[in-house]
């Protein structure tokens, strides 16, 4: 069974059997041999014994047992009897008995308390961990994991083990795997619950140890996440090995033979094999389904897609799936309805059954039978709007308040009323139908408002009405008022936005104010206080006389009607309102609600359009709370966002950071960024944003700089630092100087089609060869021949005695028809034959490929150990790089100058991450969290 195993692992297994009767590999050093050992540069694990007590005796027994295991990894285990040999420093050390040292050459790589390395598992895991210190990354937070992933993308897959407690067999298994596969995969060790949650483990407290495979190698874009697979078996060396083999095995194998004849690598890896049957007409979708399923079951089962078009597939048509359990020859057939069922079948029924060996098969068979064969793919809507509208298809909208206008009633309706708001929609557009709901809501909310009516036009029926109104997009809202051209509603298509717009629009714009008292009332909110909830911002045009461009202001105000409340005060005493502001009239005065400092802006001569734009710009908040409704206005500015995420209540926890931000802003330090905040209670989508930025949701409040318009880098204000204005400014300064490490990146998502293309042409070519093929250039086209072959054939079977021309044509037609038919048959025949051959080749290819893989892996291991050897032999600062094959190669230019000596000396190595995500020495960010702190 395990003959495929690679040699180091095989040795490991052997060592597990621990033939203890054999001579112990524990070397008892003399002073001379110790010195020799130091000079040889070998890695050795040496215990200095001064006196023997029972505890030490037990420990030495354990040490002897581990000597066999560690020898496989080139690590010598030795002891020095200090009572016989005196070795300076070590034998004379205090508490010498409590320590054991790991040497590389003359240097101590690490010292351990013998409490920590109390048995074979603990010894092996800790020693390997220390030796592999640079190979295995220690990761605690999703952000750290994100960095590892980014570095690995496109180059290597990542194996991440969660070890709750170090020194247990699981830890040893992980370390042994890391030793063997370290050159092939990036190993990551983690502990703590934060990452478990990040990896979607429902109950982190339940988990002792687990392992994930992160498929980063095939991810080409930095923005894409690495898909990951959880190993669902206990962490043992064999399980890890099998799991990694499975990860290397093809996701999906395709075959065109009966499942009984299929022999795939999965069968040798002790996992169930699931067969799905594909019909030629749905082969593309079936493949998609199979791939989806394969991803779901990756690591738990192998998946084979069987092409039914081959005659050697004998499975009855009623079944569309089958499975074979490991170590069993028989197949079981069933009919599945969707992917979910297979997953349930496998997880809940097959795997437990495998363990319990209870025979519930008939019951299972019964569950699956009785359902006709269904296509493997499901027609699921993947558009959130279309799907939600579709789920609502039973809903009857109450259209009482939104009468349906027709070609006959339309013109009368838009002429008669004060303000007629008309929604143009088409029924097949999901957005239209969804917005219709909001439109009806608004109609109900505005019921009773005089001179304001809402109506709708179904453009699917009244196409000429919509054509006359130049409607080219749906849904579309037009406002009609007698004597004015129809005005399009250009705002958010939502009940609240439209409602606010229509309410504000009720009032004239601008509102002409005649006295200072009225102005005060307008600005402070008494006048039109009913709008306060909708739009607290008011803008006031102040003019001393009418010739100062009042007309332009009035024009601009008209175009802003409904958007912003505008007042106009033309009076000699108008300048009374600009007291305390350094502006001269004409001017704009902006009030953001009662009690807020008003702002004044000088009004320069311009066109009404420019002025309207300027007013839109002026009313924007300088420290806005970003919401779903207002984000586009602020994003438009193109500045990096200095984004404060707050949550919870309205207490000081929330208001204080806001104040600090305002303070930083008021001293003019935040000019290059847009300071803003998101309240996660009011804008829950912000949570997803935060998670996307950092990879996890940090404690709130959290301050983030998002260079959304620029390079897309995201920085996270260190959560341990107090959120004070001076710290914020300092932090921004450090970011500016490239002194801060980015916490994430906003990916460049291409927004390609979300699902694979259903290629009709390919299906035609498969099912009706020649049907969709261009004619060969030699054939001279004749009008008659353009008829489909079928029609020509119909003509063929008619009675005799007809004109020669016709007959000749018919004969041609017939022969053409027959020719085509024959050709098709031939082609079909050929393609079947070819298919079978291909399939056979595939199979062979697969096995051959498997062999190659194995071979390559062996080579790689050699390469790896060679690399390791070089590293050890050199003892100096060795520069490595990983070659494309994943081998560690010496002498790379992208080198991590990780000197073993440096570690031994206990110096902190300072790193920085290069742009490509590699760790480069010489940075100013010091690698504080070395693995030393892990253990």
């Amino acid at each position: 069974m395990y003959c495929l195993l690679l040699s180091p692992l095989f040795l490991t297994l052997k060592s597990k059997l621990a033939i203890r009767q054999l001579l112990s590999r524990l070397v008892v050093h003399t002073a001379a041999s110790f010195t020799e050992n130091m000079v040889s540069g070998r890695t050795s694990f040496i215990y200095f014994v001064k006196q023997a007590n029972p505890t030490v005796k037990t420990f030495i027994e354990q040490l002897e047992m581990s000597a066999d295991a560690l020898e496989d990894y080139g690590i010598l285990i030795g002891k020095v009897n200090c009572s016989e040999e005196t070795i300076e420093k070590y034998c004379t050390e205090e508490e010498v008995m409590k320590k054991i040292h790991l040497f590389r050459g003359p240097d101590v790589l690490r010292s351990f308390d013998i409490d920590t390395v109390f048995d074979v598992n603990a010894i092996v895991s800790h020693v390997l961990f220390a030796v592999l210190f640079d190979e295995v990354r220690c990761v605690h937070t999703p952000a750290e994991l994100g960095r590892v992933e980014r570095a690995a993308k496109g180059t290597a897959d990542v194996v991440m083990g969660h070890i709750r407690v170090l020194g247990l067999p699981e830890h040893r298994a992980l370390m042994e795997a890391a030793f063997v596969y370290g050159a092939k995969y990036q190993f990551v060790q983690t502990s703590g619950t934060l990452l478990l949650r990040h990896m979607e483990i429902a109950d982190p407290s339940d988990v002792q140890a687990c392992l994930w495979f992160l498929h980063c190698r095939t991810v080409s874009r930095l923005s894409e996440p690495c898909p990951h697979t959880l190993m669902r078996k206990p962490l043992t060396t064999i399980n890890i090995h099998t799991f990694l083999q499975l990860m290397e095995a093809p996701l999906l194998t395709e075959a065109a033979v009966d499942p009984a004849e299929v022999d795939v690598v999965y069968s040798h890896l002790n996992v169930p094999v699931i067969f799905l049957f594909s019909r030629p007409e749905t082969v593309h979708l079936d493949r998609v389904t199979a791939e989806t399923l394969a991803w779901r079951l990756r690591g738990e089962a192998g998946l084979v897609l069987i092409h039914r078009d081959n005659p050697s597939v004998k499975t009855p048509l009623v079944y569309n799936a089958a499975y074979r359990l490991p170590q069993e020859q028989s197949l079981r057939y069933f009919t599945l309805k969707n992917v979910e069922e297979v997953v349930t079948l496998l997880r809940d029924q097959l795997l437990p059954k495998e363990r319990e060996k209870q025979d519930k098969e008939e019951e299972i068979e019964y569950d699956w039978s009785g359902v006709g064969p269904t296509p493997l793919f499901a027609d699921v809507l993947d558009d959130e709007v279309a799907e939600s509208v579709y789920r609502d298809r039973g809903l009857m909208l109450d259209m009482d308040k939104v009468p349906e206008l027709t070609a006959d009633t339309f013109s009368a309706a838009v002429m008669q009323h004060g303000l007629m708001v008309v929604l143009f929609y088409v029924k097949w557009d999901a957005v239209s139908m969804a917005f219709l709901q909001s439109f009806v809501e608004v109609a109900h909310a505005l019921e009773g408002v005089n001179g304001l009516d809402l109506a709708s036009v179904n453009c699917g029926e009244w196409t000429d009405v919509c054509g006359d109104q130049n409607i080219t997009s749906f849904p579309f809202v037009l406002l009609y008022q007698p004597g004015e051209a129809a005005q399009p509603y250009r705002g958010m298509l939502g009940a609240e936005s439209l409602h606010t717009f229509l309410l504000l629009r009720q009032d004239p714009s601008p509102l002409e104010l005649s006295s200072l008292a009225e102005v005060a009332s307008f600005l402070e909110g008494d006048l039109y206080s009913r709008h306060l909830a909708h739009s607290p911002v008011r803008v006031m045009g102040l003019f001393t006389s009418a010739d100062q461009g009042v007309a332009v202001f009035v024009e601009a105000a008209k175009s802003l009607r409904g958007e912003i409340l505008l007042g106009l005060f033309v009076n000699k005493v108008a300048d009374a309102w600009t007291d305390g502001h350094t502006v001269s009239l004409p001017a704009l005065l902006v009030s953001r609600g009662p009690g807020v400092q008003q702002e004044a802006h000088t009004l320069l001569p311009s066109t009404s359009q420019n002025l309207a734009e300027r007013i839109r710009c002026i009313v924007l908040d300088t420290f806005p709370e970003l919401t779903v409704e207002n984000l586009p206005w602020y994003l438009e500015q193109g500045k990096p966002l200095l984004l404060l995420f707050v949550g919870g209540g309205e207490g000081p926890l929330m208001t204080q950071p806001l104040e600090e931000m305002r303070m930083a802003q008021s001293v003019g330090q935040l000019v290059d960024v847009l300071p803003c905040w998101i309240h996660l209670g009011r804008t829950p989508a912000g949570r997803s944003v935060l998670k996307a930025y950092l990879g996890f949701v940090p404690p709130l409040p959290a301050l983030v700089l998002s260079r959304i318009g620029g390079d897309g880098e995201v920085f996270h204000f260190p959560p341990e630092r107090p959120l004070l204005s001076k710290n914020i400014v300092q932090w921004l300064q450090r970011i500016e100087n490239n002194q801060e490490q980015c916490a994430g990146a906003i990916p460049e998502v291409a927004w390609d089609p979300p699902v694979p293309f259903y290629d009709f042409l390919a299906i035609m070519d498969e099912e009706a060869p020649g049907y969709a093929a261009q004619r060969s250039p030699k054939v001279k086209p004749k009008g008659k021949k353009e008829q489909p072959a079928g029609e020509a054939r119909q003509e063929a079977g008619t009675s005799a005695g007809r004109g020669a021309e016709e007959t000749r044509q018919d004969v041609e037609g017939t022969s053409a028809g027959r020719g085509a038919g024959e050709a098709r048959q031939e082609k079909e025949g050929t393609s079947v034959g070819r298919g079978a051959r291909e399939a056979r080749q595939d199979e062979e290819g697969m096995f051959a490929g498997g062999g190659v893989d194995e071979a390559r892996m062996e080579e790689e291991e050699e390469g790896m150990s060679a690399g390791r050897g070089a590293g050890e032999a050199g003892r100096g600062d060795v520069c490595w790089k990983r070659s494309r094959q994943g081998e560690a190669v010496e002498g790379g230019d992208v080198c991590c100058k990780r000197s073993w000596r440096g570690e031994a000396g206990g110096e902190d190595v300072c790193w920085k991450r290069s742009r490509r995500g590699e760790a480069v020495e010489g940075g100013d960010i010091c690698w504080k969290r070395s693995c030393r702190s892990c253990s």
């Binding site: 109390f118 407690v165 558009d383 097949w428 939502g494 009940a495 293309f757 290629d759 016709e806």
Partner: protein, 664 residues
């Protein structure tokens, strides 16, 4: 055996011709016009409307005193078989034109044929009446009583190209920069054989059934006019035999309205129920068509005539159950009509078409006569492009062809590019659905006219009803530029038609098998570049267009309403996504908010809507649906407590060692 009959025949075809000479007096001076339209039939008036609408200098020359004079005479039995379905249950004017085969296109919503008749198969006089109403209400420039007897080409004209000089019966000349020939088909198709002088023509037979009482009648032809005659005399004639080379083609089987319509097919019943009527197929060339008495036959043998016909080589001599061995009282020719080539001078004469046995002029894909630049053929005479294929020989088809030709004229002579709707790409899907659900042009002129969508990244241009065969010349004809994003073409098509028209399995309902649809359904072709002439020539057998880079069939719909989200809309969206290389899904504002902050460039829908401050918000009820479907993230525990200690906790917990329980 007194009479022996053989003959040649052609399919009869409903046609429009303007022939009766008028006697108009005029002076001999030359009159100049940019556009001369020859014939005030439906095609001529239709073109007149478009020329008037674009305020061009045009004249419609008609030799009769009123429009549509063909219909004053034909069909002989005065029942139109073009469908006039007034009640469709719909009020969509464009959609209703799909079922109104007699109206002409105009900008007047009420200028429809239903104003003169509400019968499904109207009385024929209603049609000239309608045409005359159309002409008067639109104030078209028609000059009646002008019989053009000669058409010459002259070497100079617009752009130095040919122009045409028309001479009427009074010698008056009309010099036309562009000549639009819409004279229809007027010359009855005849057969010539010994005794063919005894054959009566469809154009002149008596229409009173009483005249056929107890007569054995042989009708040459198996088209609609032959069956129309048969139907009329069915109750009087003793035997009616229909004779032609090819078997009857039923319009409801072939989807070609020129084939036998079920309106006139009662004879099929009496034939199949053995009531003395019948259909016979007979070849054409080998059998000479003879009509003479036995004595004449003997005379001929003596008289050393050229024919080698003897009693021995007559079919009945050898074959004693020869179908047509019994004599007939009447032989009626119902073989259709041909184009009148005789008025054209050599240089101005378009060649004969290769289809329809050369009865029609050959035209280019944009309906210009081959070899006669600036001379366009419109109406029934232009049917050679889609003969026996689509509806270009009939009012309900060629009215759209005329519109297309007019757009080509506007581009060529006035530099007005083909009208196009500029749409944001996010609006493309609903717009295509709108067209396939209502457009009448591509529906009637299936496989001939198609909508063309020029993809330009975030926007696209939508051109309606372009003649597909002219695609290789698209840019020149339309004045529109095809960008590197390629183009989409929306065509209505019948399917493979391989199954029994009324049999089981005739309709396809699964969208994944849409390409096997048998009934009219929309097909969308995607080309990265405009197909060349060669591509066009080598297109797959039975296809209207060459093999595209991608194709999408929208599954046929029993109700012809392609608006269902799962079967129609989503598959089409996915096809468009493939062609455009972008995600075309719609998103709620909340999703756009999230995507705008977490990706450098959110999906198109968000860019064109949300970021343009016109985002689509939705409501909580709908969001709930989307969340339940797993399409929108849920915000569980959306409010995060400030003292979430998990972060720091984990640091202290991280990597706890297992320590020995051994007591030192």
């Amino acid at each position: 055996m007194e009479l022996i009959l053989c003959f040649i025949c052609l399919l009869s075809l409903f046609s429009l011709v303007l022939t009766v000479p008028g006697d108009h007096h005029g002076d001999n001076s030359t009159r100049h016009h940019d556009y001369c339209v020859l014939g005030a039939g439906p095609a001529g008036l239709q073109m007149g409307f478009f020329l008037a609408q674009s305020q061009r200098d045009y004249i419609i020359l008609e030799r009769n005193s009123g429009p549509g004079s063909f219909f004053k005479r034909y069909p002989r039995h005065r029942k139109l078989i073009s469908i006039n379905k007034v009640y469709t249950g719909r009020r969509n004017r464009e959609f209703n034109l799909r079922h109104d085969w007699n109206s002409l296109l105009s900008n007047r919503p009420n200028l429809l044929f239903q104003r003169v008749s509400r019968d499904l198969y109207p009385e024929a006089d209603a049609f000239p009446h309608y045409l005359s109403m159309f002409e008067k209400e639109l104030g078209l420039q028609v000059q009646y009583g002008t019989d053009i007897g000669r058409i010459q080409a002259s070497g100079f004209g617009l752009n130095g190209n040919k122009s045409y000089i028309l001479t009427d019966q009074n010698g008056e000349e009309y010099k036309c920069r562009v000549l639009l020939v819409s004279t229809g088909l007027w010359v009855p198709e005849e057969v010539h054989f010994v005794g063919s002088d005894l054959v009566e023509g469809y154009e002149s037979i008596p229409t009173d059934p009483e005249e056929y009482k107890d007569q054995a009648v042989l009708i040459l032809g198996k088209g609609n006019s032959a069956f129309e005659v048969a139907q009329s005399i069915l109750g009087r004639a003793s035997r009616i035999h229909l004779y032609s080379p090819s078997p009857v083609r039923l319009a409801w089987q072939t989807h070609y309205v020129g084939d036998l319509r079920a309106v006139n097919n009662e004879l099929l019943d009496t034939y199949q129920l053995k009531s003395l009527d019948g259909l016979v197929e007979g070849g054409l060339e080998d059998i000479a068509i003879l009509y003479f008495t036995l004595s004449e036959l003997l005379d001929r043998q003596d008289g050393n005539r050229s024919t080698a016909i003897t009693a021995e080589n007559l079919p009945g001599y050898h074959d004693d159950n020869f179908s047509l061995r019994q004599p007939y009282d009447r032989v009626i020719r119902c073989l259709g009509f041909r184009f009148n080539f005789s008025v054209f001078d050599g240089s101005a004469c378009p060649p004969h078409s290769s289809t329809a046995r050369g009865r029609l002029p050959a035209v280019t894909a944009w309906y210009e006569g081959r070899g006669t630049p600036n001379l366009f053929i419109l109406g029934t005479a232009a049917h050679s492009r889609d003969y026996r294929m689509s509806a270009g020989g009939f009012v309900h088809g060629f009215r759209y062809i005329v519109r297309a030709v007019h757009k080509i004229l506007e581009q060529r002579y006035h530099n007005n590019a083909w009208p196009a709707n500029k749409l944001p790409t996010s609006q493309l899907l609903p717009w295509i659905l709108k067209r396939v659900n209502e457009a009448s042009g591509p529906y009637q002129m299936f496989e001939v006219l198609g909508d063309i969508i020029l993809l330009q990244g975030s926007h696209c241009e939508y051109l309606e009803e372009f003649p597909l065969q002219a695609l290789p010349r698209f840019s020149a004809l339309s004045g529109r530029h095809v960008s590197e994003h390629g183009l989409l073409i929306v065509v209505m098509q019948y399917g493979l038609n391989r199954t029994d028209t009324l049999g089981p399995g005739r309709a396809e309902s699964e969208w994944t098998k849409a390409w096997k649809s048998n009934f009219l359904h929309p097909v969308i072709y995607y080309y990265r570049t405009v197909p060349t002439e060669g591509d066009m020539r080598r297109r797959p057998v039975g296809w209207p267009l060459p093999r595209p880079d991608a194709v999408h069939h929208m599954v046929e719909d029993f109700l012809t309403e392609w608006d269902q989200p799962v079967s129609h809309s989503q598959p089409l969206r996915r096809f468009l996504e493939h062609c455009l290389h972008m995600d075309l899904r719609a998103f709620y504002a909340e999703s756009c908010f999230r995507l705008s902050l977490t990706s450098r460039k959110p999906p198109l829908f968000c860019r064109q809507g949300y970021l343009n401050k016109e985002g689509f918000v939705g409501n909580s009820h709908l969001w709930q649906h989307a969340r339940e479907a797993g399409l929108m993230p849920t915000h569980q525990g959306s409010v995060v407590p400030g003292d979430d200690g998990s972060f720091s906790d984990c640091l202290s917990h991280a990597g706890a060692d297992m320590t020995s329980t051994i007591n030192f």
